[in-house]
């Protein structure tokens, strides 16, 4: 399964940030080879360093796997970096606060970058401010030396500028990923539309052929005069042909089908031409569902099947629709394909908009259950049953 553009971009961002953060920890190892003369409490310094590195590894592995970071984790990163920089600054002996011995500058800049990328702009500004303040508090003992004040201001400027630049870069990357995803979505819709059109043409050809085999040959036989149209056999045949014509007329209107089964059958058939075998199972479907409900369900099912074709890596899907005694209906679209982590940050707009949004707007509910390696189930119900 090829990851979508958005997921791919989020992973690139996570890997870049992770590598950046690990590299930022390296100066301390170089410093520690030179001995422990710079710190009042070397053991505490080691503990802080190991914690900081371990946290970074956890955070960015997590970000890679989930395709992003929740605000709570980004805030935790900011909080840890702030505490570490105060502790490290204060543990440095006088004169060492602004040298390489204060290794917390790297993680503080990194946390600022994380805030700029994963938090809303206003929150990110606040987070960077906290980091700046924490760094200043940590190196506070150095304030009396004028030459060092200049360097402190320089470091502080870096604390603000790096996150700002990173935030801009990430926004640009994400924008192009969203555009790429929208384009691939449009392309897919277009393909589906073309298949549907082609099928309509096929259907028309089939109908003409049937027309030839039935109505036309019956009429010709009567016209030739060799056939008595009053015999029961001929009457039966005329009645059958009339039925068939009637079906043809009602079947070719381009209105949205009002019956749910017909709508679902149409959706499923369109996907069959994309190589998906859709097994349809219907029972006790209610009559007289409002057209907008039928449309919302058909739309959601189509989107769910699109997702099976695009992401599940399987050629089989099941569409099950069951009515209840109160006139409601429950529809599921299930596959046994790749699935995805149910908690994953899924930014693809298919699922959210077309399934949850459309069902909610029609007074129902759409839910998606999935787990990596265990397939996906999209569950639609109307009306919404209060749980």
């Amino acid at each position: 399964m090829e990851p979508e553009p958005i997921l791919r971009t989020e992973r690139v961002i996570a890997v870049t940030l992770g590598a950046f953060r690990v590299v930022q920890h390296l100066p301390f190892l170089a410093v520690s080879i030179g001995g422990w003369t710079a710190y009042s409490r070397p053991a505490l310094m080691w503990c802080l360093f190991v914690f900081s590195l371990a946290w970074a590894l956890f955070l960015f592995t997590f970000a890679y796997r989930r395709g992003g970071l929740r605000p709570s984790l980004a805030l935790a990163d900011v909080a840890f970096a702030a505490m570490i920089t105060v502790a490290v600054g204060r543990t440095c002996l006088p004169g060492h606060e602004l040298s390489w011995d204060n290794w917390s500058v790297g993680p503080v800049v990194g946390a600022g970058v994380v805030a700029a990328i994963y938090l809303r702009p206003r929150v990110a500004v606040g987070a960077v401010f906290i980091l700046v303040a924490a760094y200043a508090v940590g190196v506070d003992p150095a304030r009396d030396v004028p030459a060092e004040v200049a360097q402190t201001v320089g470091n502080l400027a870096g604390l603000v500028l790096f996150p700002f630049a990173a935030g801009l870069a990430a926004a640009t990357l994400r924008k192009s990923a969203r555009e790429a995803e929208a384009a691939s979505h449009r392309e897919f819709e277009l393909r589906l539309e073309r298949e549907t059109e082609r099928m309509l043409v096929d259907e028309r050809v089939r109908q003409y052929r049937l027309l030839h085999d039935t109505v036309l040959s019956t009429l010709s036989a009567i016209a030739r005069g060799g056939l008595d149209h009053r015999t029961p056999e001929v009457q039966k045949r005329c009645a059958d042909d009339a039925d068939w014509l009637r079906g043809l007329i009602t079947g070719t209107t381009h209105d949205m089908p009002t019956s749910l089964a017909a709508a679902l059958a149409d959706v499923s058939r369109a996907h069959a031409d994309l190589g998906l075998e859709v097994r349809q199972q219907y029972d006790s479907l209610p009559d007289g569902l409002p057209p907008e409900v039928v449309e919302a369900i058909a739309h959601a099912v189509r989107e769910a099947l699109n997702n099976v074709v695009k992401h599940a890596g399987t050629a089989d899907a099941w569409v099950t629709a069951i009515g209840d005694e109160a006139g409601g209906v429950r529809v599921t679209v299930a596959d046994r394909g790749a699935g995805f982590d149910g908690d994953a940050v899924r930014c693809g707009f298919g699922i959210n908009q077309s399934i949850r949004g459309r069902m909610r707007a029609a007074g129902g509910r759409g839910r998606i259950h999935s787990w990596a390696g265990e397939g996906t189930e999209v569950e639609l119900e109307w009306p919404m049953v209060s749980a």
Binding site: R279, Q281, D316, I322, R330, R336, H369, E381, A387
Partner: protein, 215 residues
Amino acid sequence: MIRVGVVDDDAMLREGMGAWFSAIPDLRIVASAGSLAELLDDVPALDVVLLDLNLRDFSDPAANVRLLVSQGYRVLIVSTIPDAEHVISTIAAGASGYVTKNRDLVALAEAIREVASGEFALSPELAFVLSRDQRGDRPALSPREREVLGLYASGMTLEAVARRVGIAPGTARTHLGRVKQKYADVGRPAFTKLDLAERHREDRLDLDGLPRDSD
């Protein structure tokens, strides 16, 4: 080697199946017929009979199954249309499973192996028909068994079913196994009164069939 007999009025389909099966080493079609009478003419030794649900001679599907079962054959029903009423009647008559003809070969072969080993082949399509089974004399299923059956019928993997119900995959498998056992026992002697009483109680508890989940 599993010996398979095919009864289908569609000669083209029978030929196609022969070609299909030649790719599977442990299955071999040893008898092929357009009707039941034609198959039973020379009493072949078979492990499984693949029986088309609706034969063109309009014979009663359930009667066909009863005849085969009475002669000691294990029957797997195949059909193009999932005709729920007749599928259920053949299961009640002692058929060991049901698959639709559009199933892929792997699934069909797996179902044949299950039936050959004396098990009940529960495909999702059969699970769906059974989960909507409203007959008074159907085997009694516990609420949990019905829930697992209903979810499995919607095409989900067993792992996903287990996760939805909140049980271990092994437990879900056991529930499904019990359902299969209960339906496999159908061909055997009639139910006791106790079974019937149990079923009436269950009908009252669970009127609308497929349970809604409560998360």
